[in-house]
Symmetry: D2
Subunit: 434 residues, 4 copies
């Protein structure tokens, strides 16, 4: 997590203040549940809530931790300083640190997921708007980086929309994966605490009770969570790469928005670098690199070892903060992408009609020319275009053997772009609905 690639709302989820606030809520709700069960006095449970609106003193808690070498005890000591030692004496009763820590992590992850989901919805809105805006903007489709057949800019945005819509679904599934809590004790048997406490706390914290935990919530959940983030990051790179390609000097079908204030642009107007999407490419690598550590975290010894903890201290904030930033940056890029329809046409016409050779070949065979002869006819005209810079349609129209098989109208029809765009609306309906 580096400030340069961070946004405050997501960063706040991982602050000590937020963490202690969640710890407090878990402890307070647990006291309520224990009071309802008659395990502790109602007045003690009620007293805890005195700290509800008090800001915890992080420096003070750190100070106590340096002594006790235990973060949860340090917090509880500070809490007792606020609500009174006597009032606090039942707080955390029957619980283990992991009950608080693991449930807190999942509260943080679900809140982080909520932000990512909102980010994704914003990105989807931008992609949809741009898709409809450029629905019929013809550009050449490319396979292997080589011109293939015409498509439209709108279809490009539409497929990114569809991809990110799948990612929205994946993020929602990922959120559900980690939306559980556990207050089940040292090895998960509820020996010292009633399952009803877990149920109450989870309900209040917006989580489901983990059906069976050990000292910790099982880490396959977190692995699935981070794996989903890795897929989303990879899709971000996919879009970023398309834009980087479109912006390269020789293609220049689109550019990242360049604010007037950014100097240097007008003296070297060709030198507008797609630095945002290049940056997104790097950020994608980072998020992807966190998937494997999360997968390795699944294996814990017996009822728990703590190897997962240092990993999560880093990738919990890093993966969510970085992905949040990346989604927001991409949304901004998509929103403001400058598209150049004229350049799209220029590029498509670079080989003066050759991209239509396939259609002409087909038409010749359908007109009864043998496949071998048709190929030769197309070839000899194609080579004139390729080697002498001629125009393919013109050459075909002037070729008697071609004209013997196809009328002028038939030839001209083969160069009609409408042939390629006739199903765009169908596809849009598939993607965006009616």
């Amino acid at each position: 997590m580096i400030p340069r690639y961070s946004r405050p709302e997501m960063v706040a989820i991982w602050s000590p203040e937020t963490k202690f606030r969640i710890w407090f809520e878990i402890e307070a709700h647990a006291c309520d549940a224990m009071a309802d069960l008659g395990v502790i006095p109602q007045e003690n449970a009620a007293a805890v809530w005195k700290a509800q609106d008090v800001e915890f003193d992080v420096a003070r808690i750190d100070e106590i931790e340096r002594e006790t070498k235990h973060d949860v005890i340090a917090f509880l000591t500070h809490l007792a300083e606020i609500i009174g030692n006597d009032e606090a004496r039942f707080v955390h009763q029957g619980m283990t640190s992991s009950d608080v820590l693991d449930t807190t992590l999942n509260v943080q992850l679900t809140r982080a997921a909520d932000i990512l989901i909102a980010d994704m919805e914003a990105l989807l809105a931008a992609l949809k708007r741009r898709a409809f805006e450029t629905k019929d903007m013809v550009r050449i489709g490319r396979s292997h980086g080589i011109h293939a057949e015409p498509t439209t800019m709108g279809l490009t945005f539409a497929r990114f929309y569809a991809e990110m819509f799948r990612n929205l679904r994946r993020l929602k599934t990922a959120r559900a994966e980690v939306a559980t809590g556990a207050i089940s004790g040292a090895v998960g048997t509820f020996a010292n605490i009633d399952p009803a406490v877990e149920e109450h706390v989870c309900a209040k914290m917006g989580l489901l009770p983990e059906p069976i935990s050990t000292q910790v919530i099982p880490r396959d959940r977190h692995a699935a969570f981070f794996a989903a983030l890795g897929v989303v990051a990879s899709s971000i790179e996919n879009i970023a790469t398309e834009i980087r390609h479109m912006q390269r000097t020789e293609v220049l079908e689109a550019e990242e928005f360049f604010s007037k204030g950014q100097k240097g642009s007008s003296a070297m107007p060709h030198k507008r670098n797609p630095v945002l999407t290049e940056n997104l490419t790097g950020l994608a690598r980072l998020v992807r690199g966190m998937v494997t550590p999360a997968l390795e975290n699944v294996t814990l010894w017996h009822e728990r070892d703590i190897s997962h903890s240092s990993v999560e201290r880093m990738i919990g904030p890093d993966a969510t903060v970085t992905l949040d930033f990346a989604l927001a940056r991409l949304t901004n890029v998509v929103e403001n992408l400058v598209v150049y329809p004229d350049r799209m046409l220029d590029n498509m016409n670079r080989f003066r009609g050759l991209v239509m050779s396939q259609r002409v070949l087909l038409a010749l065979t359908q007109a009864g020319v043998s496949r071998e002869d048709a190929y030769k006819l197309v070839q000899r005209n194609a080579m004139k275009v390729w080697e002498q810079g001629a125009d393919f349609q013109t050459e075909l129209l002037a070729d008697d053997d071609v004209r013997a098989a196809l009328s002028e109208e038939e030839i001209r029809e083969k160069f009609d772009l409408g042939y390629h765009t006739k199903h765009v609306d169908t596809i849009f309906t598939r993607v965006f609905g009616d």
Copy 2:
């Protein structure tokens, strides 16, 4: 994919024979659809089905491919040899190779997923049976590899069940991710083929039409598929590691099944190695290693580049074959795992009651002893156990200060295992339902 770690049913999915059969079906169904649309003659569509029960000659297809350097053309040529050149002349019309190849890959992946899902269900059945069988078999729960509080063997199986049940869900989601097909042409515009063909073929092949494709089906789908396999593999390692720990000489609470025939066991009866679960640990690393290449595959240039193809040729078979083998091996290990309840008790009692020190401490404070004094009381008796090999309960009963606070009955009750197992049924109900 190495024979040693492969099972025939999964291997068959990836055979040339299966591949060509799927290609045939796609082409034949596409002809049907085109005939229905009036694009090609009904009799030509019907003629294709003549190859329905003919076995394709893989060697012959390879031979043609060596000439044409194109696999789909080689197949189509062979198909024409079977059904007749004239009858075959409309086969593949308006389609591109990728229409066939990509749709085929997804047919293979969904079939592979079906096997993995069945594997998982078998594993779940085994875990469930063992869980109920050992539900009340008490063993020590461990955090950090160190004795913590009692739990039961059944809870261990039950949590693996719950984890694998989540993995079953993930596998089903993964299957749905890749259960799409595309017959949409060179850049996905349906320029040369009607979307109705795609719909018909997909319906017949058990797939949904990909809402928007380019030359290929978008690779975020496959990335999500392989990522899910990586999570499953990590869970396999989790279970394998638990068993490896249980079998180590000093623990020996369980052993992989050892067939009578396996020599060497009785002259060195202690030397039964958990080689199956060690092997599963390695297999998990392999499957996990295929996640990142799949994530890197998401980014393709423009409407497609073919960089993903070599990756999928390897990880498609490797990941599914290896995971299938691993799931089956794990099921076998779980089914036949020999458990040693006496050793579980021996291990638990290794420190003669010390694991109960926490409960005694709590009881003393609840009986009014100050926390500090209670700690000292527990400590002095604990050290006798630790240093002199005494029995904790005996020492406590003989300590007057302890007895001043707790009666004999109260002390004995602290060593009651029932305290720790009282919620096992509740947890089982959560996991397995009523």
Copy 3:
């Protein structure tokens, strides 16, 4: 390892025949050493060599293994069938299977490294040849995919040479990492075998004795080996990506060689796909994906667990075979790459001199124009080029304010390509020596 991406020499290293031949040599050399030590009779040691030229019957060994469930015993049994039971009775004495298996793996890996090193040397030769051939072939250098300043095609080949030369060094280091053997017994103490045996066998097999082994050779060595392969693969992708970029329709400064026989090319002369380098991109992902499993293999329990074995059975052949194929393919691509110097110039001149704007700006300030004014002067002429398609040099020459600061000659000099290539020879000397 898939046949499509394999070459026979490397595949042969991993064949059962090769494996058994290495096993035989290790056992035979060990017998010699033991005979020299007087531990076994000389005639028994000598007898083993009777199998020197006998081809082992893999099917027979497999058959025995199915019975004994032990591969080394199966081999020894077959060996005894060849040289006689009595003669064979001291073979393998005091050794454990891992002594043979681990030493064999390292023989295979060093042989594989030898091939990779030879592959790399061939690639280097090709890169060097192409570098000198194109040393002065001017093309535009690009940062962020955007035109920056002129460079030469030769410098591109030269930097790939330098990168691969570093990789050659890394491969040699990697080879040394795994060039050790161990004949040290069940836990590495030489309890049952003299260290002199290890020394003799290693010397004969071209290895150094592992200074301290357990049951196995430590796996940090293999991790370093596979990590080096991952770096090499990434460099392959780097070169492949450059070529893919050069071949894309709008750039077309180079093309993978296209054999006359490959059909389709002349009817769609623009449609020559860089499929070889796209394929190399995918192969790089595969090799890279094997690094992490190799790193995970480093951690083994105590004196060994066998989790590493299944990983190595797959990645040993897969990584070396795939990398060998990739290096050879890349060499072929480099050897035969068709370069288009005219297109390089066309591309460079696409913006009619604008890439020189930086030099003009500098010259103006050096001529005493304030930075601000100089910028405005450059800008107003640059915008004419950008917006109206004018020529930058022409515009500058016609701009009175510019001419007030710079003479015609001075302006023209700014567009001299020699300015950019003046240090090419220096760089070549750095890279290739004098």
Copy 4:
């Protein structure tokens, strides 16, 4: 990089203050070189050094960057504020930002490597001391977690020493990989700056000139650097795992040092958790997770794209800071590890001599008993040990058939531990030299 797992010296390398100081030095040395070449006036070069002892105002630089959106320009502006606008006017002449940024990164990485090398030397010293201290401390060697043959604690430390010594070598190689600088201009052609400047700056900064760069130093170097860190991290996990195993309740052959002050230990003396080595396991996962992003960074478009930058901003500090912390923590753990030789013997004797069954078997066959009969003899006595808790040596001595082949002395000799430790000194000499 999280404070909890960071040490100040390494963190300081990555501070803005250090970065700006290095930037300054590069710029100042470059001015010196340019003055020597006569390109700029000597007095201007000299003037730059006025900032030598001035602390740069990071907040001020940040402020300027917010305006200019360019970090290097912001720094140069601040530098001019210090040394005077006029004096500063030749600073950075002919250079590009990457010249400064890339050279700086490598200065930071080599400094980080120096710390890691010193860390490693400290770890080696600790391992060596513990190895000699425990050279003859017998413990059971284990394969598959199962008792195999005796070894010594000293051999365990010695093999970790040998492994880390290899890692020291790898770190030194890694340092050399990144110990290059480049001052070669926008696309690496030295068009605007003489190669002599690069040579001078590199010499002063302790680097070698990069033989051929583009806008950036090639990233295969950094990939190799981070890959080496990943190997080191994996070795750390290897040692950490051994210690975690030794500390688990049932083994307890060693424990992480537990300070008297750490509460809770004496009331639950069995509950000393190996949290440091568990933590190291997690940290290893983190460092390993940064290898793949570094490998992906190798591929840059043409003369550079900036995708690598965000990756390096994160993994540069994170990988080095985390590894530095991990090495120091491990050194501390090794230094203070409490070893329990009595428990080692207890564990070894757990099966009352059965680990010697292999030697007895061998002795019987060497005494002329057929292999089959020898096996039966060993087996029937082994089973008494296994099933009835008898002592293996006693049983053998009482077995007439065994005694018919072996004398009492011969039998007793088979249980002599000296047999297993006789080559320990040889191995130590191999590892540590004479």
